[in-house]
């Protein structure tokens, strides 16, 4: 099975080729949470996450709300 390397939240991550944003969220156990996903500076909305396939060297950020004033 071929793989690709992406950067997730600043760290290298290896994924199966053809993985979607939704696959990544499942892999990270983030699929049950409300998160925002940014791929290469572009926001990927929930409806598009299953169809948005990740490419080699993609910069991915998964963001949540934490405490703040």
């Amino acid at each position: 099975m071929s793989t690709i390397h992406i950067t997730l939240n600043g760290q290298k991550r290896e994924l199966p080729s053809g993985s979607s944003v939704a696959d990544l969220l499942k892999l990270e156990s983030a699929d049950s949470l409300k998160v925002a996903v940014v791929v290469n500076e572009q926001i990927v909305r929930p409806d598009d996450r299953a169809s948005h396939l990740l490419q080699k060297s993609d910069q991915v950020e998964i963001l949540v709300f934490a405490g703040g004033g």
């Binding site: 925002a36 909305r45 934490a66 405490g67």
Partner: protein, 259 residues
């Protein structure tokens, strides 16, 4: 209490809560409930699967009638703040954004120039923009002009507990502003929140003073009462302060006897 109007939203509570610095999520949730706040700030953070229980969206969404106001903390420039605002709106589903740009990580003083830039862009995009600012009356008017829904001058440095050290400037801002003025940062005690409301603030934003109290929920409830008391006192019309003593050689003798 009359409603606090921000954009098209109305709130009966005039206490806005920050959610940082609490010992645990349940302690924070308990404090939010005790404060009866309807608007709370949250910050954007990278997801960490080892600390997934720190996510606040789930627990906060269980509190009825609560609106989230994401902040842009972490941003050091207008560009970064605008980016954070876009992502935050995606997540919160709320048009509120607390613009908070502090390039210096130590004292956390807001950058007025970057803040103005970011607010101008975000207000034009339809956000309900709530900038955290130095207590500067001219900056406050400039932000009003670009479409901010409120201004949030600091009482004193974030987390400093020095209270309303900017009181004179905040009073000027209140006098000149046509939008709600909300004191944000620096308050330590409910009496200071009450004083800010008596002065004419539309609301206060409190975080550290509640988060680090021995009993955060009890402190949140105390702040809620103080804010309500201050607001009511303002509306009831405070008695004028006693003036200077009457001069020994009268200033008004040239006016002659009363007619």
């Amino acid at each position: 209490m009359n409603a606090l109007r921000l954009g098209s939203y109305t709130f009966s509570s005039r206490l806005i809560l920050g959610t940082g610095k609490f010992s645990s999520v349940p302690a924070m949730i308990e404090a939010v409930r005790a404060s009866k706040a309807q608007l709370v700030t949250v910050a954007l953070r990278r997801f960490n699967r080892e600390q997934a229980e720190d996510d606040l969206f789930g627990p906060l969404s269980e509190i009825e009638g609560l609106t989230l106001m994401p902040n842009t903390s972490g941003a050091a420039t207008a560009k970064e703040a605008v980016k954070a605002a876009h992502i935050s709106r995606e997540l919160s589903g709320s048009p509120f954004i607390k613009v908070e740009i502090h390039p210096n990580p130590h004292h956390l003083m807001p950058d007025p120039i970057e803040t103005w830039e970011a607010c101008k862009i975000l207000a034009a995009e339809g956000f309900i923009v709530m900038p955290y600012i130095p207590a500067d009356p001219v900056l406050a008017k400039r932000l009003e002009e670009v479409g901010c829904s409120s201004v949030m001058p600091l009482g004193s440095a974030i987390g400093s507990g020095q209270g309303l050290s900017t009181s004179a400037m905040v009073q000027l801002i209140i006098r000149e502003s046509s939008i709600p003025v909300i004191v944000d940062a620096g308050l330590r005690s409910p009496s200071e929140a009450c004083a800010a409301m008596e002065m004419g603030c539309a609301a206060v934003l409190v975080n550290s003073a509640i988060a680090v109290a021995r009993d955060p929920a009890a402190m949140a409830s105390a702040f809620a009462k103080a804010v309500e008391a201050g607001y009511d006192a303002r509306n009831a019309g405070l008695m004028p302060r006693s003036g200077s003593a009457v001069a020994t050689s009268p200033l008004t003798s040239f006016l002659g006897a009363s007619s």
